[in-house]
Subunit: 223 residues, 2 copies
DNA sequence: AAAAAGTTTTTTGTATACACTACTTGTTTT
DNA sequence: AAAACAAGTAGTGTATACAAAAAACTTTTT
């Protein structure tokens, strides 16, 4: 009874490489580390209070995750994305989200639909409060529930992977969002389609939703 | 004039981590390293004649690439895929290949169409010779030409990433392939759609092609 | 003053050392 | 004989050392 704490502590172990990986990833996603910025091993090691070994391993992981560019003997830098890259990613996201919406409509549970409603409520409420960080968090949660409802783990992973690449630009777009009515209606319509297990309609709304969002993101980056 | 060799040599440099990464990747794809097999750092270091450092970095990369599983303090092993995982991947591949076929129909050059015909010719010829390795190589080439014709680098990368995960099982399927007439007709019809820049038709055939292939792969693994 | 050559400094690449955890084997206890 | 315990062994995690290349800075040459 008293040893659950010990067990928890045992599971809390994370290799330093993963701590570094998460720290750098977060830094890149939030924009604290800017595109093009050099990532010097010694400097990072000093800042994070570890040796170069876990830093280097984390950089290799970030390279494969497409968050940093790595040139042999030259070092690493935060990946920069061109407008074309963003367009390309959004194009992929569109078909994957559509696939996800269709699968979710087939497999979603009532419990998950309730969670979806709750996430949407938080989304609207955060927007009214003007809390753009929470707007993004709630929106991400809303979509994550859908992905998990697909029952396709690989899809969850791939969408999360490509979403991460454009996360920075999605923040920018949501901060500029003045009117919530369109995404609001789309979320409600999507929940509705799920309640009716209407695959065709869920795909249709999803496609629309991502297309609209893509247009807004692209507009917001070409200031 | 004489220094092109020097220049080549200069560009030939690859860090050991990348050499190790490529070696292990190839081993996993060809099946020399079996699913579930443990990858011991010391053993690999001895076999490849390098220290543990590049081995470890390569293992981190392979983890993110989803080719190995990595449990902290326990080590790495070649990733095993369940039938469900394979189904999941094929489901994703279907929509991405369809997207690729549509984009390719819009953007493909006559030069690329010629390459496509050549790859298809090699495919048929290898099949007639009973050379299943070359069948797979030619088929891969055929699809790679299409991906590159999309003009969407991110798509190329993601499809290659997920294709790699099921590469082992695609080999098995192609080795069992007794009759080439269906893929043969589909390839020809696809080339035809490209020649006419017929987006809708290209997508349709692609969907069919991958659906058929998926069914065959799934049948071949559930012996 | 600009270019070239040489020198120092910074940074990455690789190997190695040591600590600590997980596993194995053998022993003791019941 | 099974379970519990205790070495001993093998393996991963992290830090550090040194080599080699790239970058920055100086000096020399023109």
């Amino acid at each position: 009874m008293a040893d659950y704490k010990v067990k928890l502590a045992a599971n809390e172990y994370l290799p330093l490489r993963d701590v570094v990986f998460n720290t750098l990833k977060d830094g890149i996603l939030t924009g604290r580390l800017r595109p093009g910025e050099r990532l010097l091993e010694n400097q990072l090691a000093d800042e994070l209070g570890v040796s170069r070994t876990p830093i280097r391993e984390a950089l290799r992981m970030l390279e494969i995750e497409n968050l940093v560019d790595l040139i042999p003997r030259r070092g690493a830098q935060v990946k920069d994305m061109s407008e074309k890259d963003i367009k390309n990613v959004l194009e992929i996201r569109k078909v994957l989200e559509e696939l996800a919406a269709g699968l979710a409509a087939e497999n979603i549970t009532n419990r998950q639909i309730a969670e979806l409603k709750e996430a949407h409520r938080a989304f609207v409420e955060a927007f009214d409060r003007g809390d753009s960080t929470e707007v993004l968090a709630a929106d991400t949660r809303f979509h994550d529930i859908i992905f998990n409802a697909t029952g396709n783990d690989k899809l969850v992973q791939i969408i999360s992977n490509i979403s991460i690449q454009i996360y920075r630009y999605r923040i920018a777009y949501l901060k500029l969002l003045k009117n919530i009515s369109v995404p609001n209606e789309q979320h409600i319509a999507l929940i509705n389609a799920f309640e009716n297990r209407d695959v065709r309609r869920a795909k249709e709304i999803s496609r629309e939703h991502i297309t609209d969002q893509a247009m807004e993101i692209l507009r917001s980056i070409s200031y």
